[in-house]
């Protein structure tokens, strides 16, 4: 058995940058934006110091950075980029091109609010604007989960020919320090072999092909249907690859697991913490799960459902757990203006009429623009969840 890599106390951004270095992409391109900056600054420094072999291509905007990694990926390279907030919005057109071309690009989004009014702090508004762009969307709840998600992301992307975005909460994960294990390149290679796309599937002067050709109404629709079906079908492959990941990265899996005394069930898509017949189940994405788990750890009758894979939407996995109770409280850091929170809408849409009949699902919008989400707020939400009143509420104060 190989000696376990040692734990280090690292900033989240540093942990992600070191993981990317060990994954060894051929091309990195990014434009700095708070709170993503430390990740790409670190990667640029590694390159400048001769510690990393990738090409680091400086870009004049996020649109250019995304286009550069698109081009490099189309030419058959493993690539990496990262962004945040306005940067992701500026990339939006390219984000769709990447999934449309079925390029296995991996990108980190350090989640941040979007303007106006200008705000540089954390929420999920940025990713929610492109959540349906045909990418696999992963959410990390702590540093080790973020590290693990990046390794898994490359495996999924290259196997499925689908781009993968890893969402890490700005500041809460990117700028805080936690104990992390960064797997060595040799260990990563056991799970993630070097990227060798098949001849004839990438741009190559010796065997010219056309990517992104013109599709008339006679064929365009099939490409959309295929992307949708492949994304849905990837749910099973994500589960399988996660099981494979756990076998190779035992210490990393253990460190990513959030400590909890009660029962924990995980299928790679969602994790459920709590009793079999709880009074209320809370559902959340990303680092919110840490605060929630800390709040409910001594409560006997409350469960937490952590969503790790948001696109493709794991409706079946979610329904399996939330139908164990009557009261569901979705806690989320985004709002679809004029509708409700995106996760809430997704959960409701994923339930059959029979399943939905007995459920009292409520939506709590929290932490927009970096507003602190406290244990007191979570306790308030737990108390409110049983009441049958307005289904969407903003919880901003203790």
């Amino acid at each position: 058995m190989s000696k376990p890599e040692s734990k280090q106390i690292l900033e989240g951004s540093r942990a992600i940058a070191l993981t990317i270095k060990n994954i060894a992409p051929a091309v990195v391109s990014a434009y700095p934006i708070t709170p993503q900056t430390h990740i790409v600054e670190d990667l640029a420094k590694m390159k400048a110091d001769g510690q990393a072999g990738f090409e680091y291509i400086r870009a004049e905007s996020e649109f250019a950075a995304a286009s550069i990694v698109l081009g490099a990926s189309a030419a058959g390279s493993r690539v990496y980029s990262a962004t945040s907030s306005q940067g992701l919005l500026l990339m939006a057109e390219v984000v769709y091109n990447i999934s449309g071309l079925r390029l296995p690009i991996v990108m980190t989004t350090a989640n941040r609010a979007i303007s106006s009014p200008i705000n540089i702090w954390n929420d999920h508004s940025d990713v929610m604007s492109i959540r349906d762009a045909g990418w696999i969307q992963l959410f990390a709840a702590n540093h080790q989960e973020a590290v693990n998600a990046h390794i898994l992301a490359y495996k999924l992307a290259e196997k499925l020919k689908l781009p993968v975005m890893i969402n890490v909460d700005g500041y809460i994960l990117t700028h805080s320090y936690e104990s992390v294990i960064i797997p060595e390149p040799k260990k990563i290679k056991k799970f993630l072999p070097a990227y060798r796309p098949e001849n004839g599937t990438y741009l190559n002067p010796d065997n010219p092909v056309t990517l992104g050709a013109f599709f008339t109404p006679a064929h365009y629709m099939e490409t959309r249907e295929a992307l949708h079906e492949d994304l849905l079908a990837s749910l099973e492959i994500i589960k399988k690859e996660y099981r494979e990941f756990q076998k190779i990265f035992k210490d990393e899996t253990r460190l990513a697991a959030m400590p909890f005394k009660g029962n924990v069930y995980s299928d790679g898509l969602v994790v459920y913490y709590g009793p079999n017949k709880p009074k209320t189940i809370l559902v959340a994405l990303g680092s919110l799960n840490g605060t929630i788990l800390e709040t409910i750890k001594d409560l006997k009758n409350i469960g937490l459902l952590k969503i790790k894979v948001y696109r493709p939407f794991p409706a079946e996995s979610i329904n399996k757990f939330i139908t164990r109770t009557k009261n569901i409280a979705v806690i989320e850091k985004a709002i679809n203006f004029g509708q409700a929170g995106p996760l809430y809408c997704d959960i409701k849409a994923g339930l059959s009429a029979a399943e939905a009949k007995n459920l009292n699902i409520k939506d709590y919008i929290v932490g927009l623009g970096g507003r602190d989400v406290t244990k007191k707020m979570i306790s308030k939400i737990i108390k409110d969840a049983g009441r049958r009143d307005a289904s969407v509420k903003f919880v901003g104060n203790d």
């Binding site: 449309g100 599937t201 092909v209 056309t210 990517l211 295929a226 492949d230």
Partner: protein
């Protein structure tokens, strides 16, 4: 991809299978006897649909060609011409007329 019939990766030039000339509502018709063979239309065609070539007696309706007509003449590819009318507008001797095509 699940639907193997539609591949996102194609060979160069296969986009030509998409005949886009049907988007046209007006068709440029060139009177080759009036045409002086200056090739301006071929140069400004935004779709690259006009190429200069030798004109045959039959294309000139069997009429005897004068020296000015023995130059290379434009040939329009109606499979891709979208009828924008730029050639008609720019023609120095008004040899190109747009006719209804719908």
């Amino acid at each position: 991809m699940k639907n193997e019939k539609v591949s996102l990766i194609t060979k160069p030039n296969t986009t030509l299978a998409n005949k886009t000339g049907a988007w046209r509502t007006a068709k440029p018709m060139t009177d080759l006897l009036t045409c002086i063979g200056c090739s301006l239309c071929a140069k400004i065609c935004p779709e690259g649909c006009i190429v200069m070539g030798e004109i045959s007696e039959s294309a000139a309706n069997g009429k005897k060609l004068k020296p000015k007509n023995k130059k290379l003449k434009p040939k329009t590819d109606y499979n891709y011409c979208k009828g924008c009318g730029l050639c008609t507008h720019e023609c120095l001797v008004k040899a190109i007329k747009m006719i209804k095509d719908y």
